[in-house]
């Protein structure tokens, strides 16, 4: 008797339904929790995702991809397996995938968070027998403060940079984090500019109906622009690159859950760290897992071992699940790959030989 979902060389596979969830290789049929690159691999023959995820996913896996959108909460069948998508609160369109076969229910959460975020639909607990959870920040040292306080800190940093004549360069992952930061800060303080990679996603968010303050593409700003009043949003890969030079004297900051640890901030030689994450903190993970009522918990990403042990000590049947998901990496996939400074849609990814 094999499990409803199993990890094989390509990803998390449902043999009964003949589909994958978040495969890490091109497969015939993929259900995708969200469009971050460690969950949405290019080159699959057919994709299925939540309706609000569709445009973002298309920008990531190629405009001529075969993508089938489904609204949150609607059930449908694939080869006799009952499936529905439920909000994960991680980024725009992020979904937990509920899979049911012969009365057995699994939920694959992808990445999720419980904090309020106006740029995506809030996390919704789904009852199940087996819950596949992330553990990117699966240690009790990771606890997020009130989003309003972090926003106030970012505003204060921006204003104080204006007073000392420095441009404010804030690094944030271009999909999800940048938009969440945008929605949180006070646009009355000054003009906001974006790196091309950020601007491209801002546009998709706006087209999907998410309200964001006005931003300008930094690359087409006139030469005489006074950057000292500006906030510039850029992907972490732009840190230390020549792209930054155009802004003159800058103060740099990084918005990431990892900024909770002093060493990670200092190592990156960043002036400020703001603790902002798209992932659940330790109390968030425990709350979400409890709310599913799951008998069995499978843990992916990050700090698998401590979370598994803690869950087992608290009477749950928990196991680590080996996947290739990265989560919000300190030295992450997104930051290592320089993103092109173009606000236009990317060319279709090349298939390597």
């Amino acid at each position: 008797m094999s499990a409803l979902l199993q990890v094989n060389a390509n990803g998390l596979y449902c043999a009964v339904g003949a589909f994958y969830i978040d495969p890490w290789r091109p497969v015939p049929r993929a259900i995708v929790t969200h469009a971050h690159s460690d969950h949405a691999h290019w080159g699959c023959a057919a994709y299925l995702c939540s309706t609000p995820c569709q445009s973002v996913l298309r920008s990531r896996v190629g405009s001529d991809s075969n993508i089938e959108p489904r609204p949150y909460g609607e059930s449908f069948d694939i080869n006799g397996v009952r499936i529905s998508l439920h909000p994960a609160g991680h980024i725009l369109g992020s979904a937990q995938i509920r899979v049911e076969s012969r009365g057995e229910v699994w939920v694959v959460s992808g990445d999720y968070k419980l904090e309020p975020d106006s740029t995506c639909t809030p996390f919704e607990p789904v009852r199940c027998h087996t819950f596949v959870t992330e553990s990117t920040f699966g240690l009790p040292i990771y606890r997020w403060g009130a989003p309003s306080e972090t926003a106030a800190d970012m505003n204060a940093w921006w204003k104080s940079n204006q007073q000392s004549g420095k441009a404010s360069v804030l690094f944030a992952y271009s999909l999800g984090k940048a938009q969440r930061v945008l929605a949180a800060i006070d646009p009355a303080i000054g003009p906001i500019f974006g790196h091309g990679a950020v601007e491209k996603l801002n546009r998709i968010y706006r087209e999907t109906g998410i309200a964001l303050p006005e931003t300008h593409y930094a690359g087409s700003a006139p030469a005489a622009t006074d950057w000292s009043r500006a906030l510039i949003l850029a992907p972490p890969s732009a840190h230390g690159s020549t792209w930054i030079r155009r802004f003159g004297t800058v103060s740099t900051a990084f918005a990431s859950g990892w900024m909770r640890i002093r060493g990670t901030r200092r190592r990156r030689s960043i002036d400020r760290g703001f603790v902002v994450s798209d992932h659940a903190d330790w109390p968030g993970l425990i709350t979400a897992i409890d709310a599913t009522g799951a008998e069995c918990v499978l843990v992916t990403h990050g700090y698998r071992a401590p979370l598994v042990r803690w869950l087992c000590e608290h009477g749950r049947n928990a196991k680590a699940l080996e996947t290739r998901y990265d989560g919000e990496r300190d030295e992450g996939t997104e930051s290592e790959t320089p993103e092109p400074d173009s606000p236009d849609p990317d060319p279709i990814p090349q298939v390597p030989a």
Binding site: L139, I141, G263, R267, R272, A305, P306
Partner: protein, 530 residues
């Protein structure tokens, strides 16, 4: 505590000197003198010894955080810093406190030494409950004796000078020696006129920068006094009010460690201060520095070690004479007077003049410098004639001109995580060199790479781990680094049979393959040449 924690945060979040001075100045201008005195004490690196056993501190923190021990261990592993781990794990504060720094230090920190465990625990837990994460972090650093922040003494002095209008060099001198932080102390150091009380107080050391650019850019060699640069313990020997004080550069009073020099000081005239280098010295010759390390390692100095490894003071300069501060007098005057002092006391065999090395040209001096290794010195010190003895590290009048370090190409074979801010990265490496077809561990090095390079090497290690032994990983031998080091000698304690001094990574040799690395044989040849 709130203001001090904010100051810490401000200093911690910038690398820019003017921003640090601005933060310090704002702090000194706004806090009561009793707080400022303690802040100076901690900022310039003086700290109480560890007041509490780590084991107990962790036990109380774990209980307060209501987590199992193993989860504390996992958290510590991820953070890499005990004080920070505790501050991140404790529950949110239940109250807040406006009590000033001197209250926390005098009423809550220093008494920890005398209290029993129950009282200590209660005091710590109530302190934690009244502090936010930043305050707790600083507090935990203070009670574990690990407080450190990225400011030099000279930045602190500059900020104090800005607040008080007192000359920075005067302030620096007043901060030396033995003092207890108090209102009186703070008022005394900031006073326009000083009535100096501390009889033991040393002068700030004048430190040299390494020479930049070609040597002949210094101009006419006759304007310079060259001396060999020795590698021992830089120190000041002071005689005042019929007592002798020996200070290390780290501002530690080390008189008792060197009874020979204490006796020597007894022969100095009243009111004398000599700057020099302590060297293990026997039969008119320096001994290898390893001998000195043997001596330093001893808790009790028995007659045997004193006879085996006697020390001498290699006299560099004269700072006080007849009770007068003579640092502003020209080099020639100080030198002449120093020579008189040395010739009057050299029969003890415990003082040696650092002789000027006279050559006709920079070319001749360069030739002579090649003998440095054979003579057991690090190169030359160059001092401008007519110059005064200045405070701290200054460019222009004094330069050090060291010989090129040894260098060896070696292969990365083991790695382990660093400490503190480097704890989540593999930063501590062991390098191997070829002994036939195997790589034998040769040296460990931690420094010399940029943050960017460290990140790349870290990623390589994670992808190329062969085996894990606790925190240590053996790594596929692929990366080659050029290691630089200062000294080399035989050692029975090392598997390679060789010990090196101050090894560091000079360059990542991405152009080299492991088979291009050096062999034990070529390295042994370096010892022969040393």
């Amino acid at each position: 505590m709130r203001a001090f924690a904010q100051l810490f945060t401000a200093l911690d979040e910038t690398t820019k000197t003017n921003e640090k001075i601005a933060a310090l100045t704002a702090y000194f201008a706004s806090v009561p003198p009793a707080d400022a005195a303690w802040a100076i004490h901690f900022l310039i690196g003086r700290r109480p010894k560890r007041l509490i056993e780590t084991r107990k501190l962790v036990e109380w923190a774990v209980a307060e955080a209501e987590i199992p021990d193993w989860l504390f261990g996992e958290s510590y592993q991820a953070v890499g810093d005990l004080a920070e781990t505790i501050s991140l794990l404790l529950p949110a504060p239940t109250t807040s406190s406006e009590l000033p720094l001197h209250y926390w230090v005098e009423e809550r920190l220093l008494p920890l030494k005398e209290w029993d465990d129950a009282k200590r625990r209660e005091s710590l837990v109530t302190a934690w409950r009244a502090m936010n994460e930043r305050q707790r972090f600083v507090w935990n650093k203070l009670i574990t004796g690990g407080f450190r922040v990225g400011v030099s003494q000279s930045l602190v002095v500059r900020a104090m000078a800005a607040v008080s209008g007192v000359d920075a060099a005067v302030l620096a001198h007043r901060l030396m020696g033995d003092w207890m932080p108090s209102v009186e102390f703070y008022e005394r150091i900031l006073a326009k006129e000083s009535a100096d009380a501390d009889v033991s107080r040393p002068y700030p050391f004048f430190l040299a920068y390494p020479i930049e650019g070609p040597i002949d850019a210094l101009g006419d060699i006759h304007h310079w006094q060259a001396e060999w640069k020795w590698d021992g313990i830089r120190a000041q020997l002071i005689r005042r009010q019929w007592r002798t004080f020996l200070w290390s550069r780290g501002e530690e009073l080390i008189t008792e460690r060197f009874p020979e020099l204490e006796a020597l000081g007894g022969l100095f005239p009243e009111g004398t201060a000599v700057d020099g280098e302590i060297l293990p010295w026997k039969n008119g010759m320096p001994l290898p520095f390893a001998q000195m390390q043997r001596r330093i390692g001893r808790k009790v100095l028995g007659p045997k070690i004193l006879a085996d490894v006697p020390v001498s003071l290699l006299a560099y300069d004269l700072l006080e004479w007849g009770g007068e501060d003579v640092r502003e007098r020209p080099l020639e005057w100080r030198r002449e007077t120093l020579e008189q002092l040395v010739s009057a006391t050299k029969s003890t065999g415990r003082i040696v003049l650092s002789e000027p090395v006279n050559t006709a040209s920079w070319g001749d001096l360069t030739t002579l410098r090649r003998e440095a290794r054979a003579r057991g010195v690090e190169g030359f010190m160059l001092k401008r004639k007519g110059s005064s003895y200045r405070v701290g590290r200054k460019r222009g009048d004094w330069w050090k001109w060291k010989i090129e370090p040894y260098s060896v190409d070696a292969v990365l074979i083991y790695a382990q995580p660093g400490n503190g801010r480097r704890a989540s990265l593999f930063t501590d490496y062991t390098f191997g060199v070829w002994d036939g077809a195997t790589l034998v561990p040769f040296a460990k090095a931690y420094s010399g790479l940029t943050d960017e390079e460290i990140r790349k090497v870290d990623a390589f290690i994670r992808r190329n781990t062969i085996e894990k032994f606790g925190p240590v990983r053996s790594v596929r031998p692929e990366l080659v680094f050029e290691l630089a080091f200062e000294g080399i000698q035989k050692s029975s304690r090392h598997r390679s049979g060789i010990a090196v001094r101050f090894p560091r990574m000079a360059r990542w040799r991405t152009d080299k393959k492991p088979e291009d690395a050096d062999t034990l044989e070529t390295i042994r040849a370096l010892i022969a040449g040393a």
